[in-house]
């Protein structure tokens, strides 16, 4: 199968090809293609502007069903949902179960697009995207788009993050996508579902490209979203128009009022660490407890150790293999090195699991779940994140937790302590806050994931005077 480039909806065959496996080749876009296509982006914007946002939302809901059930164009062929699952699993080593779970998340984001956008706009009518004008509690508000294009550089390891850019199309902002090298399928399948549902094809750019092409996409579009590590965050920091979703370092904080009830929530700890193969930025990477660290660690570790490698098509598979074996070896080596070189940390899972952390099974390399008990928050393994079920557990007084967490994507605070909740709610370090014994990977569609796409793409302008002619 060959996957070509989509240049604002038009298929384009590159002379540079990247062979991903024996059956799959992608066409590689040179950065110049992207720059040149952006010269015509006003036509894409006009095509979206010509359709009422309510209709676009209808299309999005219809696209959700097509994404889940239809045979959709994929390069020079078509792809059934099952073929999508198998192909993506082949490339990323995600088990079929997790591909299906990610499909479900994407479907939910599309089918609940009105809820999602309502959450982002705080309930404004979709008309705001048609007229720029809405009434909120009797006050006229005027929003205008700050860009005519959104460039998104996508990862390979988390298909569901594609749900983040989908609302932009209903907000009438064309999107230019750079798929992750190992996941060209998910963004293309969403794009094809949206086109089939009625979206104008010129609203979509799909550019498998190089790192330079990714930079071009992000810096040339009026707004850009990228995913990556701390290095990616630093790289794009000078660009105010680029929003980077970096390392999550999501955490569970147990309050003193909840510590005696930890056994009731063992499943929440395990889910938070291991769901989605532990690959997501909203997976827990650290648990802070005010007391009882060793007992809690032993209990969690015993449960995590039950998560064993299974074949990718096994209905119970949870762990993901590593497409890049060297990466698995590097992570394993780094953890072992830090355990050996820095005192004060113990791999609690080691005594429960059936062998080494790194294991070859089912023709793949896996890393088994790992929980590290750290004596201090300063230990190098106490606040880090890896692409497999990995977490640390650290004991400290509740009063020290907030000043210790650093930038954190999700905090689940197990507490009912009113004063502490108040402190949590004004902490600048937390992007998403769950109050109560909820897993960090909990998603509520009316809440923004990380940053607010509407506020990223639109800006409010003061408007006064006689508006009767436009109401």
């Amino acid at each position: 199968m060959q996957i070509p480039i989509l240049r604002l909806g038009e298929t384009y065959h590159s002379a540079d090809l990247a062979e991903l496996n024996d059956n799959l080749t992608t066409h590689t876009a040179n950065p110049g293609l992207i720059r040149r296509d952006l010269l015509r982006i006003s036509e894409s914007k006009a095509a979206l502007d010509a359709i009422p946002a309510e209709t676009l939302a209808d299309y999005c809901e219809a696209a959700a069903e097509l994404f889940m059930t239809a045979d959709l164009p994929c390069g020079d062929s078509t792809q059934s949902p099952q073929e999508y699952i198998e192909s993506l699993s082949d490339l990323t080593r995600l088990p079929h179960t997790l591909v299906k779970m990610n499909m479900g998340k994407i479907h939910a984001a599309m089918s609940q697009i009105r809820t999602v956008i309502g959450g982002l706009t705080r309930g404004m009518s979709l008309e705001i995207f048609d007229r720029g004008l809405a009434s909120v509690d009797g006050l006229d508000v005027n929003f205008y788009p700050t860009t005519s294009s959104l460039g998104v550089s996508l990862p390979s390891n988390a298909p569901a993050v594609n749900s983040l850019w989908i609302p932009a199309l209903v907000m009438k902002i064309p999107v230019l996508l750079k798929p992750g090298r190992e996941d060209p399928f998910t963004p293309l399948r969403i794009v094809q579902a949206m086109i089939q549902a009625g979206f104008p094809k010129q609203a979509f750019g799909f550019y498998p490209t190089t790192h330079e092409g990714g930079d071009t996409l992000l810096t040339s579009c009026g707004a850009g979203i990228s995913f990556g590590s701390d290095v990616t965050v630093k790289k794009y920091a000078p660009f105010k128009t680029i929003q980077v979703h970096g390392t999550g370092r999501s955490k569970i904080l147990i309050g003193e009022d909840y510590i005696d009830k930890w056994q009731d929530h063992l499943d929440v700890f395990v889910t938070s660490i291991a769901a989605n193969g532990g690959r997501s930025c909203i997976n827990t990477s650290s648990i802070l407890v005010p007391s009882g660290r060793d007992d809690i660690a032993e209990a969690i570790a015993a449960e995590l150790a039950k998560v064993e490698p299974l074949a990718r098509d096994d209905q119970n598979a949870l762990l993901c293999g590593f497409a890049n074996t060297d990466l698995a070896s590097g992570i394993d080596g780094m953890i072992e090195g830090l355990l050996e070189d820095e005192p004060g940390a113990t791999d609690v899972t080691a005594k429960f699991r059936n062998g080494d952390r790194k294991v070859e099974a089912f023709d793949q390399t896996y890393l088994r779940p790992t929980l590290i008990a750290c004596d201090s928050k300063e230990h190098s393994l106490a606040n880090t994140e890896f692409m497999f079920p990995f977490a640390s557990i650290v004991q400290m007084p509740q009063s020290e937790m907030l000043e210790s967490i650093g930038e954190t994507l999700v905090v689940s605070a197990f507490t009912e302590d009113k004063d502490w909740i108040q402190d949590l709610m004004i902490s600048p370090d937390i992007e998403r806050l769950n109050i109560g014994p909820f897993p960090t990977n909990r998603v509520q569609w009316e809440q923004p994931h990380e940053g607010n796409l509407f506020e990223f793409l639109y800006r409010r302008r003061a408007i006064q005077g006689n508006l009767t002619s436009v109401k």
Binding site: S14, A15, D16, L17, E19, T25, A29, N30, G32, F239
Partner: protein
């Protein structure tokens, strides 16, 4: 022209040239202090051991740090003493630059380049515009010579790659972009107000120019470009979109140490580039990165190795920071070529189309 030779005749010509150049550079009557001293220290006389090009394997790979450390005057052949010379520096190097000296080599190289392309490709008598690194670079003199021998004048817009490199190093991407805009602004002004029909520039600057104006409508008839990697897709894009299928395009591979390698003619729809060195003055081999005495097989990637042998300059077996596909001789050039050049070890697995 080279095309008049058979493969074996070209090979014999290279062997003869090699012997002549070895004699020139290692004879006390003609050679330069650097190579004469080198031979003394090495303990062997190349004039005795090197009788054909294959014997060049007696030399180790040339360490180009020498060109930073040594006074360029040490490279003046005795026979050239007293003749004024040019000092040229390499492109984007920061810190102490690599330098080579020269007299007429650039004229020889670019006269040959000029003869390769007829007046239907670059119009005779047309004016040229060079947009790129000028300063202490051989290229700046060479392009002006090219314009002059074809009956035209040459305009220049400078781009300082060392400053661009520094800006990028400092994370000043916005400033780098602004600097590029500044360069393009100047180029657009010259093209709009002077009769320019031929361009020399880098592919990236060429693309930026085309985002500002239709080069075909502006009267550009031929473009000569080099200096960065050009993948087949890049070539396709430049021909079809940047040059709108209306402007002749001559991609080249070259540097201060070699001169320039011309790309062989391509069939319609063929975008993979193959460059051939200006043999016998310079030779490009595609070698095994682990053993540079060995060539890789045709169609395989290997590291590019340059040998330059003129009376003005001698560089044996210098390993470039590039890799390329080894390609066989063609009608125009009866010796090996280097295809789809890219930075050394930058490649991921890529499908190669239309190798020959």
């Amino acid at each position: 022209m080279s095309a008049s030779l058979t493969v074996s005749e070209a090979s014999a010509q290279l062997d003869t040239h090699t012997r002549e150049m070895i004699d020139w550079h290692f004879s006390p009557e003609t050679g330069c202090p650097y190579w004469l001293d080198w031979a003394k220290a090495a303990g062997w006389d190349p004039r005795e051991k090197v009788k054909c090009f294959a014997d060049m394997m007696h030399f180790d790979n040339f360490d180009d740090e020498v060109l930073r450390k040594e006074d360029p005057a040490k490279f003046i052949p005795k026979q050239y003493l007293g003749r004024p010379y040019n000092v040229f520096e390499t492109g984007g190097t920061t810190g102490m630059p690599k330098q080579r000296i020269g007299w007429d080599d650039y004229k020889t190289d670019y006269t040959e380049f000029s003869e390769h392309y007829g007046p239907d490709f670059f119009p005779q008598g047309a004016n040229w515009l060079m947009v790129g690194p000028t300063g202490p670079r051989r290229l700046r003199m060479a392009i002006e010579h090219l314009a002059n021998i074809r009956g035209g004048a040459c305009y220049f817009i400078d781009l300082d790659p060392r400053w661009v490199k520094r800006l990028i190093g400092m994370g000043e991407m916005q400033m780098a972009k602004a600097y590029q805009e500044h360069v393009i602004d100047q180029a657009v002004t010259i093209i709009r107000h002077r009769d320019i029909q031929c361009l020399f520039t880098t592919p990236r600057l060429l693309e930026s120019l085309s985002l500002r104006m239709s080069l075909a409508d502006a009267g550009i008839r031929g473009v000569f470009a080099g200096g960065t990697t050009m993948t087949p897709q890049y070539v396709k894009f430049i021909q079809e979109e940047v040059l709108e299928g209306k402007i002749n395009y001559a991609p080249t591979y070259g540097n201060t140490l070699m001169g320039l390698a011309i790309s062989k003619k391509r069939e319609p729809g063929e975008y993979s580039l193959t460059y051939h060195a200006p043999q016998p003055r310079a030779t490009l081999r595609v070698v095994d990165p682990k053993d540079s005495t060995k060539l890789v097989e045709y169609g395989e990637y290997g590291r590019v190795e340059l040998t330059t042998m003129t009376k003005e300059f001698f560089v044996p077996r210098f390993l470039e920071r590039d890799e390329a596909i080894r390609r066989p001789e063609c009608e125009e050039f009866p010796w090996d070529g280097v295809g789809d050049v890219r930075p050394f070890q930058s490649g991921t697995k890529a499908v190669i189309e239309g190798v020959y």
